[in-house]
Symmetry: C2
Subunit: 220 residues, 2 copies
Amino acid sequence: MKIGVLGTGVVGEAIATALAEKGHKVMMGSRTAGNEKAMAWVQKAGEMAREGTFGEAALFGEILFLCLNGEHALNALAFAGLERFSGKVVVDITNPLDFTKGMPPRILQQFSGGTSLGEEIQKTIPEAMVVKTLNTVNFNLMVDASKVAGGDHNLFICGNNAEAKNKVKQFLSQNFNWKTDHLIDLGGIESARAIEAIVPFWVLVYRSTGTPLFNFKIVQ
Amino acid sequence: MKIGVLGTGVVGEAIATALAEKGHKVMMGSRTAGNEKAMAWVQKAGEMAREGTFGEAALFGEILFLCLNGEHALNALAFAGLERFSGKVVVDITNPLDFTKGMPPRILQQFSGGTSLGEEIQKTIPEAMVVKTLNTVNFNLMVDASKVAGGDHNLFICGNNAEAKNKVKQFLSQNFNWKTDHLIDLGGIESARAIEAIVPFWVLVYRSTGTPLFNFKIVQ
């Protein structure tokens, strides 16, 4: 499958690397073509890897992964060209966190109190099918659920389009070892408010346990 | 031990009932003495039970449980008389939720964005040792951790006073079957922001799973 990964940080690199290893054609997108980190990644990742602008990556991928800094995510979409997301399944991994005001980190004000970054992304690209997931785990765990407790823990997913959510579940199962019945569907994209809101809590648990390789398991 | 339980709702009743059954002397406090729900509870709970005003319950208990509606909790403290909380361990179970604007519920604006209800309670009664915990589980589970998965799941705790946190851990272990090593200390009372912020998420998981008898387990 052809995949677009928007973002060159640790999350983008982890997703892009794992998917190229699985045999997908992956384009890593950044603000400018020839981005240093993207070029270095292409060198390392081999023949399945290529790089380009945000817009080129959005056009390239059948599925797109948003691995953008929360504060600049909406700008990046505009920079890519909003029409390029039309009809695409867009996996939103972004977190609107503000670490500048001490611990625990806060949710950026513009994405709190009755909205969320996931919802604002869906509003910005209304012709895309935005699915929020993966944002509640460490990047190493995103791409291989089995790294913690043999994969026996949960991921949360939301979005307005049921078919797109099913596609993403299948994709995460086939590529990242997330069993589909471990993915808990929390409803429409407005549920991104709650899924984003647990990330400051995640940060505190990380501080307390000393490892980012943990996850939440819902037990009954 | 003498316990004060402030609040006559389902949470207050569950806590008060469980503690009276364990042989503690429990006073349920409400805005006015002779409150109908408190009187009914005393009838049911027997000789360990008594009822009174918020102020009487605060004075009575060696440990106090705040089982108040989040919106009115600070008012209730003022109504009780702030000096009555001095030197007391105050277990804060409140949640500042606003269900009036649809799902997921929101955090009440006055307790979001750089503060929390837990912190505002601690500021309001600075001579008390406020410990935030129990607010992330259903009231039936609060008083008996073994009701879910044999007790193998986690509770989160925060507060500024280490000794008070230890007392609460011991208390929850001895009375409510919460193993002390299942209680994860997330730091000072400012961590109440993150602990309160996961409750809208809890509500969505409840909606998705169909039962309130679940909890989060941190797996590594």
